[in-house]
């Protein structure tokens, strides 16, 4: 009887935690996916997903995970509840970062070694087009209004503005050296781009394609060359943006209206990617070399916990 009760209790516990949001973290060197309950601040389990997993997305209906397994040259479709592999997408060589359009039917992949962006029809699992971009394309994103696909090339130092209807480049903006990540504001009016080498964050106007503001960061006790911005996210109301500062081990809080840096938060080592909770009350960071993720409460703007997840946490995605 006791055992039965325990089983019941365990099942209840599992369903309860399944109802809360779940954070998924790709572990580049463990070839695995970490599943984290961020409310409890606990690693629930680790699942093998394939060689060198990096970029990760949750499908708009929350049913699937898309994970780029770079060394297998594919993007896997994985059931978001059972973690069974459901299929593969033809991503081109060495996929790292990728983006989904708002409808979830197009997936765009950066092929770093070939200087290409691959456009994939998700339903048909077919390549529609490969677009030639600058050397070492990295950051990639689609505007929420589905007008622009942005590809950022690290060595060419360019933001490429690709028309999503024609899949052709319409404009290019020269940005600071080694641009890494790009994110649109929810209204699609601004594109925020980080530069790893210059240590800056640039805000581009989607109409003019020009840089309207360049922000640099100062962190006490950290030399300038350690400040290497990578991931950037902006909240829906465009009140605040959060920038991962790489080996400076900090996340910067930027006022998205005045462009002032309000605060820097100490997180784990070599922080690179960021994701909001669905209600945007929390922020999750992957800390590449300290093998953990940091949980940040955005109401108080404090780091509440770090959770060890495995070797080289890379990408992060959240399922409600």
């Amino acid at each position: 009887m006791k055992q039965k009760a325990l089983k019941w209790f365990l099942m209840l516990a599992i369903t309860a935690s399944a109802q809360a949001e779940t954070v998924f973290v790709t572990l580049e060197k463990d070839n695995a996916l970490a599943v984290v309950d961020p409310i409890e601040g606990k690693l629930i389990k680790t699942v093998s997903v394939g060689q060198r997993p990096r970029g990760i997305f949750v499908s708009p209906d929350n049913k699937f995970l898309y994970i780029a397994t770079s060394d297998e040259n594919t993007i896997k479709i994985i059931d978001a509840t059972t973690f069974k592999e459901l299929g593969k997408l033809p991503s081109g060589k060495d996929p790292e970062t990728f983006a989904l359009n708002p409808a979830g039917d197009r997936l765009y992949v950066s092929n770093e070694d070939d200087s290409l962006v691959t456009v994939i029809d998700v339903a048909k699992k077919k390549v529609l087009k490969q677009i030639k971009v600058g050397v070492e394309p990295e950051g990639i994103t689609v505007s929420p209004d589905n007008k622009w696909l942005i590809s950022v090339s690290e060595t060419t130092n360019m933001v490429h503005w690709i028309n999503t209807k024609t899949n052709t480049i319409e404009a290019n903006t020269l940005v600071d050296p080694r641009p890494r990540a790009a994110s649109f504001t929810a209204d699609s009016q601004q594109l925020w781009v980080t530069s790893e080498m210059a240590g800056t964050l640039m805000i581009l106007d989607s109409q003019t394609k020009q840089i309207i503001k360049t922000i640099s960061f100062d962190v006490q006790g950290v030399t300038r060359d350690k400040i290497q911005p990578v991931g950037v996210v902006i909240d829906k109301e465009r009140n605040r943006a959060y920038v991962a500062l790489g080996p400076a081990n900090r996340v910067a809080v930027v006022n998205a209206k005045t462009f002032e840096v309000e605060k820097v938060l100490l997180v784990g080592q070599r922080v690179w990617n960021l994701a909001f909770s669905p209600d945007q009350k929390r922020l999750y960071t992957t800390n590449g070399t300290s093998n953990d993720i940091s949980l940040i409460d955005l109401d108080t703007q404090t780091v509440t916990k770090s959770v060890g997840v495995g070797t080289y946490p890379w990408g992060v995605a959240v399922k409600p």
Binding site: V135, A171, D176, E196, M197, G199, I211, R224, D225, P247
Partner: protein
């Protein structure tokens, strides 16, 4: 610059003036041409130490080619065309002739892969004064100190930078007692001097020093030679070898009298680039180079790549092909070159040395990247390597 292009260069200048801070390109702008020369001389092929590493004849040149490819990808979008012309002077040829007749009248940027003496001979030519020479062949500290030239920028780390990188790591490991073995060549003595300077700077002690006078043939006597040679009265932690040509250094490991690791020019080496390096996007450039060259990238290739990229980066940002504006940009705060080593690269204003991390590598493993954590500097930790501003003997007389 062909004549047909001239009428288009005027709108290009207007574009430049209006967009010098904010560059967005919606259509192909008229082309501006930037010409870069690559100059080297054939070398006598040295006797092989073993069959493992074939002699690489084209060190440097393929790096420059990869750099031009990358410059032109940006150029496609910014309306600039970068051209590379290679001048490989014959073994018996005269580099000064090639320079004055074929290079200086047509090129403003020259990537030079030559030893110290001919490099400065070129730099001192009146025709070279308005040019920018990028030295990708030397590591001499003298060229960055007493013998410095305004028109020469040094891409590879100096011997002092390399020795400091090793010393920082040894300090971290607390392997403070060194036994120094010096080869017979002048460059071996220069390397040994850098090692001694680093030892003093970081509080290491050279407990013994010996000159290698034995054979360069592994088959016969090395086994007994090294064991006898490495006996000393003073205990030591590491054997430091100065053998830049690689004539005997590889024989030391596993043959010493007492078990001690080897570092210096063999064993654990200090280098700007290594095939074991894969962090910070290095995997990407390693792949691209390997695909292009069919071999690993050597440090001269890396140097030439960085030199060509530096010109490209400055020309793109300033939208100019003039050496004056390019040099101003290279020495400005804004210049931050990606060298795939985790820290932006820039030039030291006091000696024209490229400021950069130094990799510490074993043959099949990257051991550490200097500056080692904990070695602090008020401006940039990269300046803990080599001659910092107050220590520099460069006075720009020439």
């Amino acid at each position: 610059m062909r004549l047909a292009k001239v009428p288009y260069s005027i709108p290009a200048i207007i574009l430049l003036l209006t967009q010098c801070v904010n560059l967005s390109f919606t259509q192909a702008a008229p082309k501006q041409t930037i010409n870069i020369a690559y100059l080297t001389q054939e070398q006598v092929i040295p006797a092989p130490l073993s069959n493992l590493d074939p002699f690489v004849k084209d060190k440097g040149v393929i790096g420059a080619e990869l750099g031009i490819d990358d410059d032109n990808t940006t150029g496609e979008f910014t309306g600039q065309q970068f051209n590379l012309k290679k001048f490989i002077v014959h073994l018996d040829g005269n580099v000064v002739d090639t320079f004055t007749k074929e290079i200086s009248p047509h090129f403003q940027y020259v990537v030079v892969n030559l030893p110290a003496q001919p490099l400065n001979q070129l730099a001192d030519l009146p025709a070279a004064k308005p040019l920018l020479l990028f030295d990708v062949g030397t590591r001499d500290d003298a060229l960055r100190n007493e013998e410095c030239r305004r028109n020469v920028l040094h891409i590879l780390p100096s011997r002092a930078m390399r020795a400091d990188a090793l010393a920082q790591y040894m300090m971290k490991k607390r392997w403070t007692q060194w036994f120094l073995v010096v080869g017979p060549n002048p460059e071996d003595r220069l390397y040994a001097e850098a090692i001694k300077r680093a030892a003093k700077r970081f509080g290491m002690k050279i407990v013994a020093e010996k000159a290698w006078e034995h054979t360069y043939d592994a088959r016969r006597t090395v086994q007994s030679d090294v064991a006898v040679f490495t006996q000393t009265d003073d205990p030591y932690d590491v054997l430091v070898v100065a053998d830049e040509k690689g004539q005997f250094g590889e024989y030391l490991d596993y043959r010493t009298w007492i078990p001690r690791p080897v570092m210096g020019t063999q064993g654990l080496i200090a280098t700007p680039w290594h095939k074991t390096h894969e962090q910070w996007g290095a995997v990407q450039i390693q792949h691209r180079f390997l695909e292009k060259a069919g071999r690993w990238m050597e440090e001269e290739d890396y140097g030439a790549y960085l030199a060509v990229r530096a010109v490209g980066e400055a020309a793109t940002r300033t939208q100019s092909h003039e050496p004056k504006s390019v040099k101003d940009y290279l020495f400005s705060e804004a210049f931050a070159l990606n060298g795939y080593t985790g820290t932006p690269l820039s030039f030291r204003s006091w000696d024209n040395q490229l400021r950069q991390p130094v990799l510490l590598a074993a043959p099949r493993s990257l051991v550490a990247v200097a500056p080692i954590d904990g070695f602090l500097h008020p401006k940039t930790e990269l300046d803990t390597l080599g001659y910092d501003q107050p220590e520099s003997h460069c006075h720009w007389d020439k």
